[in-house]
């Protein structure tokens, strides 16, 4: 899809434009996550507020990409890899838009976390967010280059983020148990970690779509369908 050309040159223009827009939307939500984390580190409520406002641009990208996908479907009747590209694009924008919303959710936790001294676990949030942002940048690169191997590496990175958030929950929970006055900060910390963890999940959805559009292979729910027998809990 990256190097092939269509006899209908207008179709190439449309596909290239869609690819550029998706890539730009991915970079935009990455920046918003970065800004939300910076607002947390700097304890900067104003910076957090700007992240919340900037989400409008993400929503507009989603609408524009959706509309262009629908137009291509109606006017160009794409088939095979082109069809998979459009189907994947429609799903990917939803995940990217959700990542944008999660950046907003992170920014919304910042005021609560500015109120009082930070819990120790807050120190880890920027690192955890950086790991999730690396996944996002890698998946955008995999998308642009049509690189399913890189997308698989993104899938493989997700369990570490999940484990990280569980460690943060456990630590904060025990702090809140010992010191009830830490509950508001503690909850905000847990939420922030959860937003990062969800961001990584949406990134893995994008990675699955990259694999689908390049290989025509649906890797979603692969674990569930390959091991039908589940041990009772």
């Amino acid at each position: 899809m990256t190097t092939r050309r269509h006899i209908n040159a207008q179709f190439d223009v449309e596909l290239r434009s869609l690819k550029d827009q998706i890539s730009a939307m991915g970079s935009l939500v990455d920046r918003h996550v970065g800004e939300a984390v910076a607002a947390l580190i700097e304890r900067d409520r104003e910076r957090a507020r700007r992240v919340i406002e900037a989400d409008r641009a993400v929503n507009q990208s989603e609408l524009a990409i959706d509309e262009q996908c629908i137009r291509v479907l109606a006017l160009q009747q794409p088939a095979a890899s082109d069809l998979r590209f459009i189907a994947a694009a429609l799903k990917m924008v939803t995940d990217l838009e959700r990542i944008g919303d999660l950046a907003v959710n992170m920014a919304e936790r910042v005021p609560a976390l500015c109120e009082e001294p930070a819990l120790r676990a807050v120190e880890e949030l920027p690192q955890m967010a950086a790991a999730a942002q690396t996944m996002l940048r890698d998946v955008l690169e995999a998308f642009v280059n049509g690189d399913p191997v890189k997308a698989e590496a993104v899938l493989a990175a997700d369990p570490a983020i999940d484990a990280w958030s569980v460690r943060i929950f456990d630590e904060v929970q025990s702090v809140m148990g010992r010191d009830p006055s830490s509950v508001p900060r503690g909850l905000a910390t847990i939420f922030f970690a959860k937003h990062i963890e969800r961001m990584a999940d949406h990134t893995t959805n994008v990675a699955e779509m990259v694999i689908y559009l390049v290989r025509g292979q649906d890797v979603r729910h692969a674990k569930a369908s390959s091991s039908p027998q589940q041990s009772p809990t």
């Binding site: 190097t3 269509h6 209908n8 088939a79 890899s81």
Partner: protein
């Protein structure tokens, strides 16, 4: 349009067709499922029509045509000495690109086959006309005009009439060579819908230049290129995840 495999109605193995020095079909091995609608796509000159015409031995009429390899209908070889070609063409009907009604009445067009093959006579012919015109959706419109010339009806009605004529001799297989290419888009959709209906009763093999048509109507799609059957599989697979890069290039309208 289920992808359930059915018994092979038509089969070729190592089929080669030459027209003089021109190698029109190269080593084609294919199974056409019974009561499935199979579309053949590919650029002009790729061998689609030649492949279609192998199954009713229409190519026999072309000077210098040689057919080698296995071609079977219901497991019986078609290119063996002693095959009754008349009987074969009753069993394997054909519909052409341009509607070609005979310059006879509507009624005489439909009963032409049964009459000359002595399959029916007298009042039976009227029953045949009603059954076949009904099957192609013409009975209600034309039942009061059966004695009118078949050349007075619309192109879509003419094509329906030709399909009625083809099924009047009770074939198992219908070969259709671009049956909609001379029709307007709405008439095309209506003939397509008729083809889908007929595919529940007949094995249909259709050549089309219209890829969207192949995608809309067929159970299976075969892609031919330069005499080679590149890929033959469930239509949904061919149009979403083709196996061969050449199919991918063709169905996406790509090159390079």
């Amino acid at each position: 349009m289920a992808d359930v495999p059915r018994a092979a109605k038509l089969r070729t193995d190592g089929l080669n067709v030459h027209y003089g020095d021109f190698h029109a079909l190269k080593n084609v091995t294919a199974v056409i499922g019974e009561r499935r609608l199979t579309a053949l796509i590919g650029p002009s000159g790729c061998g689609k029509s030649t492949f279609l015409r192998v199954f009713n031995r229409m190519n026999d009429r072309v000077a210098g045509c040689r057919v080698e390899g296995i071609v079977e209908l219901d497991g019986q070889p078609l290119y063996r000495r002693g095959v009754d070609i008349e009987a074969l063409r009753r069993q394997v009907g054909m519909v052409f690109q341009r509607p070609n009604p005979f310059p006879l009445s509507i009624f005489e067009n439909v009963v032409f086959g049964p009459r000359i093959h002595a399959l029916a006579a007298g009042a039976e012919l009227e029953a045949v006309a009603e059954r076949c015109l009904g099957a192609v959706g013409l009975w209600d419109d034309l039942k009061d005009r059966l004695d009118d010339s078949a050349l007075t009806i619309t192109p879509e009605q003419m094509q329906r009439l030709c399909i009625a004529r083809a099924i009047a001799v009770e074939p198992d297989v219908l070969l259709m060579d671009e049956p909609c290419s001379s029709l307007d888009p709405i008439a095309t959709l209506r003939i397509e819908s008729l083809m889908r209906e007929l595919s529940h009763r007949y094995t249909i093999l259709v050549v089309t230049h219209n890829m969207q048509q192949a995608a809309r109507i067929s159970d299976d799609t075969g892609f031919l290129l330069l005499g080679e059957l590149v890929e033959l599989g469930p239509t949904a697979t061919v149009f979403t995840r083709p196996r061969d890069r050449r199919t991918e290039d063709y169905v996406t309208g790509g090159f390079g």
